[in-house]
């Protein structure tokens, strides 16, 4: 099979690393060759953060480049827009309807675009989820990233049971129930 390219973007601290590791385990479990690439160190401190997951028969490079993303998972709107040009013409964007102002906007050096979702929708197939709101509803504000992942799961070829199994073995034991609930909620939001 051709290699599947997934890109996870967000703001440092939103859990892109955990999400890419869950995806890595999914693909390994399914018997694929897998490569992941992460960002550590300075870039993590509230900055724009990108991780990549690639799986297929034989994967060489560990990053996904411009124009090659099959599924873009974005935990924040501006970050989705920043990496829109990475997505294939027939790729899909799963975006959390969340606005987080970067410091350049807070200090007035730049303006947060008002039409992000429209721009995304005009250019690529886009699924918008309000994971931040949903996570508060299920009483677990920090699990919004797993909700977004749940929504994205519909656009990948793994079985739902396998997702749940991997989540169980990846997240901290105390948070398993909440994370499963979050995944189910996200899965139900995206059709």
């Amino acid at each position: 099979m051709a290699t599947t390219n997934i890109m996870i973007v967000g703001v440092g601290g939103q859990g892109t690393l955990l999400t890419s590791r869950i995806l890595g385990k999914m693909a390994t479990g399914a018997g694929y060759d897998v490569k992941l690439s992460e960002v550590h160190g300075m870039a993590q401190r509230g900055g724009s953060v990108v991780t990549y997951v690639r799986y297929g028969e034989n994967v060489a490079e560990p990053i996904v480049e411009e124009g090659q993303v099959d599924v873009l998972i974005a935990f924040e709107k501006l970050e989705a827009l920043r990496y829109l040009h990475f997505v294939k013409k027939d790729g899909v964007i799963i975006v959390n309807d969340l606005r987080m102002d970067p410091i350049t906007v807070v200090t007035g050096q730049a303006t947060y675009p008002s039409d992000i979702l429209e721009t995304l929708e005009k250019n690529r197939k886009t699924i918008v989820v309000d994971a931040t709101k949903k996570s508060k509803e299920i009483g677990s504000p920090k699990s919004f990233n797993v909700i977004v992942l749940g929504a994205a799961a519909r656009h990948m070829s793994f079985a739902k049971e396998d997702w749940l199994k991997v989540i169980e073995t990846t997240v901290p034991p105390k948070t398993i129930q909440k994370n499963i609930e979050a995944f189910e909620a996200g899965y139900a939001m995206s059709v």
């Binding site: 560990p62 920043r82 970067p102 050096q109």
Partner: protein
């Protein structure tokens, strides 16, 4: 079937060291090398430590090697500069037990102050350099590096890059090999590098390099993949993967040993291909040598010396493909910033208010150079804040630096900052040094150091008291201040910078991300009292945003109730509440 596991490059390096039978490892944290030690510590039978700096780490590994056990040291590329002194001479001394120095370069500078290429230092110090291309090779090459080290009687550098260190791939696990320790023998001709002995060792070093050049073609880490011969690549490290991604049919000479180069193997390969391309990130280390042998090849005239390489770079620059990519949208930048509740923000807010310049250093606090805090004026390298402030004072006089301070973190102070402070004391300096003591090595993800009271192996230990250490250098004006108390900070800084003496202010407050830190409270805005002046927003705390009506919101999932915004509000429009 052997167990196989998805592993980070750094995790695989640690696994390789374990399987190779390493017994002693010393390191100083530095992105992208830190996770090697953090993974190594989980294996029994290996002594692992955080040393105060990379020079010490390489010397610790050297001692272990001299008495006959396999040892290693790990660091980021700039750390090797600090460790250059023992490196260049250990090259002469050689090894008893195998010794590997893992050095992580950072093309693209994700978390570094420069983009230097460790292969150049390998050449200069006449130390062999091996470079893997994925996690599996990271493990395998680590083991092979120990074999090379013992066979050729030399320390070996294993070079990685950020992309390799921080990407994950499948790795097959094997059992640990238990090497027999080499019995110690007194041998001053080899172990005491005074001139008469060193002259003899220099000859041995050159012979060793020539042997490796001759043996290179037979080393399994160098390999020719002969396919279509119209284009042939010589490549190494992660760059190899980009070649395979775009041109799996091309011929490739994949070098695992990148110093010294296997000349005969390269000449033979060059003779078989019509067009020879050298595809190497950063400096033209291979290219310049190949060209010096009179072999026609192309490299840096096509590909840049800067940043990371990619598959698209080959498609565009070499194959001249039009990738028909969408244009990148113009969007506001999102640079990294200090975390909500970070104690550095509070100190910088005061320095900013007092219009004081800061000679900065290496750590999270370097971010204080950017708006809105805009406090840091200079950053050179680990420990340089204190010594460069000293240089400014000697150049311009004591009055000139009364609106300057040096700022340095606790871990960086223990690394090399203490030497600089010793120098200030000795050479009759004046000036104010602020030690931002957050009880950890923050930027690299919370590693212990000599002043935290815990070792890398998790054991409690003596915590060097920074206050007493500074006092012992003969400095009278030493003050500890709560980093969140902006009133006390302002008073202390104003008073100390005015003095014609050395002052050290230790601002104390643990990093908010430290494990075990609990924040029971949160800051809450009181919109009725808000005058919309924006004073609370000035320090740029990411938990605060301005609402459309001019009042503010505070994100409760981010707020740690550090109280900085509360102290800045003159209208009591922010209060603390229990979460």
């Amino acid at each position: 079937m052997a167990e196989s596991k998805i592993m980070l490059g750094n995790e695989a390096i640690a696994r390789g060291a374990y399987e190779a039978g390493v017994k002693v490892s010393a390191a100083y944290p530095g992105t992208p090398s830190t996770e090697i030690s953090e993974n190594l510590v989980q294996y029994e039978d290996i002594y692992c430590e955080w040393s105060p700096n990379e020079k010490v780490a390489v010397e610790v590994a050297s001692g272990a090697s001299i008495v006959g056990v396999r040892s290693m040291a790990c660091m980021k590329h700039v750390g090797l500069n600090v460790a250059s002194d023992p490196l260049y001479t250990m090259s002469y001394i050689g090894v008893k037990g195998g010794m590997v120095i893992v050095v992580a370069d950072d093309p693209g500078m994700y978390s570094s102050q420069n983009e230097q290429d460790t292969r150049m230092i390998g050449r200069a110090s006449m130390v062999p350099v091996v470079e893997p291309s994925d996690s599996q090779e990271a493990k395998d090459f680590m083991k092979y590096a120990f074999d090379l080290s013992e066979k050729y009687d030399t320390p070996v550098i294993l070079r990685t890059t950020t992309r390799l260190a921080h990407s994950q791939g499948l790795v097959t696990l094997e059992d640990r090999f238990e090497p027999v320790d080499v019995p110690y023998e007194r041998d001053i001709k080899k172990h005491v590098m005074m001139p008469a002995m060193a002259i003899g060792r220099h000859v041995a070093v050159e012979k060793r390099l020539n042997d490796m050049i001759a043996d290179g073609a037979d080393m399994p880490i160098n390999r020719v993949e002969l396919n279509d011969t119209s284009i042939g690549f010589i490549t190494c490290g992660i760059a190899y993967q980009y070649v395979k991604e775009v041109m799996p049919e091309a011929s490739v000479l994949k070098l695992g040993l990148v110093n010294p180069l296997p000349r005969k193997m390269i000449e033979d390969f060059a003779a078989k291909v019509d067009r020879l391309i050298i595809f190497e990130e950063l400096e033209p280390v291979i290219e310049e040598q190949v060209k010096s042998w009179g072999i026609k090849c192309e490299g840096k005239e096509i590909f840049t010396r800067q940043g990371e390489y990619s598959a698209n770079m080959i498609r565009e620059k070499l194959l001249k493909q039009d990738l028909k990519l969408d244009t990148k949208k113009e969007v506001p930048a999102r640079p990294p910033i200090l975390c909500p509740g970070c104690p550095h923000r509070s100190v910088y807010t005061v320095l900013n208010k007092l219009k004081i310049h800061a000679a900065g250093d290496i750590g999270c606090y370097t971010l204080g150079a950017l708006a809105p805090l805009s406090v840091i004026d200079t950053t050179i390298c680990m420990g340089s804040s204190i010594s460069s402030l000293h240089g400014m004072e000697k150049a311009m006089g004591k009055d000139y630096i009364k609106n300057w301070v040096a700022v340095i973190g606790d871990s960086t102070f223990m690394h090399t900052g203490v030497n600089s402070l010793m120098n200030m004391s000795y050479n009759k300096a004046t000036g104010t040094v602020i030690i931002l003591d957050n009880s950890t090595t923050g930027m690299t993800g919370h590693q212990d150091h000599a002043a935290t009271g815990k070792t890398l192996m998790g054991e409690p230990t003596y915590a060097i008291n920074i206050y007493n250490l500074v006092k012992s250098l003969g400095i009278e004006n030493v003050y500890e201040v709560n980093a969140y108390d902006i009133k006390a900070l302002e008073e202390t800084i104003k008073r100390e910078v005015a003095k014609d003496e050395i002052s050290v202010i230790i601002t104390k407050s643990p990093c908010v991300l430290l494990k075990g830190n609990v924040f029971p409270d949160k800051c809450v805005p009181v919109p009725e009292k808000c005058k919309k002046c924006g004073a609370c927003l000035k320090p740029g705390c990411p938990a605060l945003t301005r609402n459309e009506d001019g009042t503010i919101s505070i994100d409760e999932t981010m707020c740690n109730a550090c109280g900085l915004c509360m102290q800045l509000c003159r209208f009591e429009a922010i209060v603390k509440e229990a979460k």
